[in-house]
Symmetry: C2
Amino acid sequence: MDKQKRILLSKRPEGMPERNHFRIEEGPVPSLGENQVLVQTVYVSVDPYMRGRMEDTKSYVPPFKLGEVINGGIVGKVVSSRSTHFSAGDYVTGHLGWQEYNAADENNLRKIDPESAPLTAYLGALGMPGLTAYFGMTRIGSPQEGETVVVSGAAGAVGMIAGQIAKIRGAEVIGIAGTEEKTRYLTDTAGFDKALNYKTEENLHEALKDACPDGVDVYFDNTGGPVSEAVYPLMNDFGRIPQCGAISSYNKSGDDYGPRIHPYIVKSRLRLQGFIVSDYAREFESGARQLGSWLQEGKLVYEETVNEGFDSIPDAFLGLFEGKNLGKQLIKVSEE
Amino acid sequence: MDKQKRILLSKRPEGMPERNHFRIEEGPVPSLGENQVLVQTVYVSVDPYMRGRMEDTKSYVPPFKLGEVINGGIVGKVVSSRSTHFSAGDYVTGHLGWQEYNAADENNLRKIDPESAPLTAYLGALGMPGLTAYFGMTRIGSPQEGETVVVSGAAGAVGMIAGQIAKIRGAEVIGIAGTEEKTRYLTDTAGFDKALNYKTEENLHEALKDACPDGVDVYFDNTGGPVSEAVYPLMNDFGRIPQCGAISSYNKSGDDYGPRIHPYIVKSRLRLQGFIVSDYAREFESGARQLGSWLQEGKLVYEETVNEGFDSIPDAFLGLFEGKNLGKQLIKVSEE
């Protein structure tokens, strides 16, 4: 066990990232320093926000470095430990490299309990995406009983949780997604009141208008772009728009043009507010506790798309931008 | 005195409004009902938001009706009264018709004191524009000592007050306006730290970057459009954008396209928030008191552009969209 596979950023994309922006190579299994833990990767999370890190621009997380190992959310198993907090056999999650084994500082790991929830949930409903949905919906969207909530990217890891939280709060919830399988999941399994397929609706704006006879009070936006532009004219006065992502713009090289939205913001006194989950880091514990009890009570369900094998990580990541995933996109790298 | 002039909406504009969308005609001086007051118009206020009322679309104020008298902010003198609250000779302000005389309900008028401020101030710094600047800047922009504040439409009635309030709060303030006369006024008289002429800067974004070496924390936006798009990339994390107006879009017929801004909102966790002054109606008195004491202390200055004569009202209104006014645009209709 002295060799392992790892994935590096080999080229920065302009526009849509491709398979050749990643390089899979062999490297040494790292040795442990003091207070470090050797973690074998079990599940790798790929997330849309990582697209931004492939570019060399200032953002809320530093860019990936060219020629270095890519990193992201991982669930793994402790193989050996020079930390008093972790022992071999423990399951952990953390922000680690895309490699089969990581030497991780004990401070960068959190122990997780495979009895209280499936391991994968710690990268999804109980992890970063779940917390993103929770804080974005409760702190910015803040839907009230009887209000109408629209969610774009509704069948993604964040969107499906966000919509269900709005349902728990007593709102009428309409999801927008890109396949029939997704819209069916949203209404039949996740309890959304209605779901629209933006790829097949001839006029998304008119379809939304029919679906939201009382207008829209909260628009939880994961996509930006034309989908959002179909929603803005329907926003009610004092509508809230948690701007969680803008996946439709991430891969545009050069400018991405659309109708200017300032008049809607003024006329309906809208609040568009960007956020990222780490803005709420001090409240992660209480947020995760709330999500956990909703899961246990059966008020919250989630879905995952799990690809198999270390080498499939880049393709799973690229698939996010084609909307291939229903729910959280994960890659299983080794047995639990 | 049984005939008077009045101005009606004769046609709804598509795109830029023109002189022939208004009709000046003669009508009877109205007679008074119980609790009504006959007010002779002294000053008429024309404001960019009125452009929206010329269209037949749902907005925060109902549209003007075709073939009926246009209405807006007016300062006038009481000629006769069937109200116990007002007597001939009182000065009043209210939302009244564009005509030489209005029969106004006593509940729709507010008495004003010509001793404590010039009459015109009640339509500007102490009136709707001043209160708009006050609530937008203090409640949404909320600049802190040492932060950088950019104001678009900075030489307008709202913009020049908004920037000065940010100065009072200890911020570094940069104004954007459209003539040398305006930028000079902002720096030399209104105490702005810097002012840029968006019409003559070759690259407004680069000029702003130089003018704001620490980025932008608050962007008080009156214009939307390309000016705003030069500002967004400079916004600091958690930047606030009170969206006061979008004058650059008001006269576009059909869609008005620009670069999509969702990625900036997410990346820098911006808050764009539309508002209108009446959202703060319950606090008007305290806001006006604060503005009044700043004026008296000399901490706040303002400028007005006063056209003469009832017939010049439509042209003064149209001039707003060509940026003809420095500060509040008023029309003097009769002697004080």
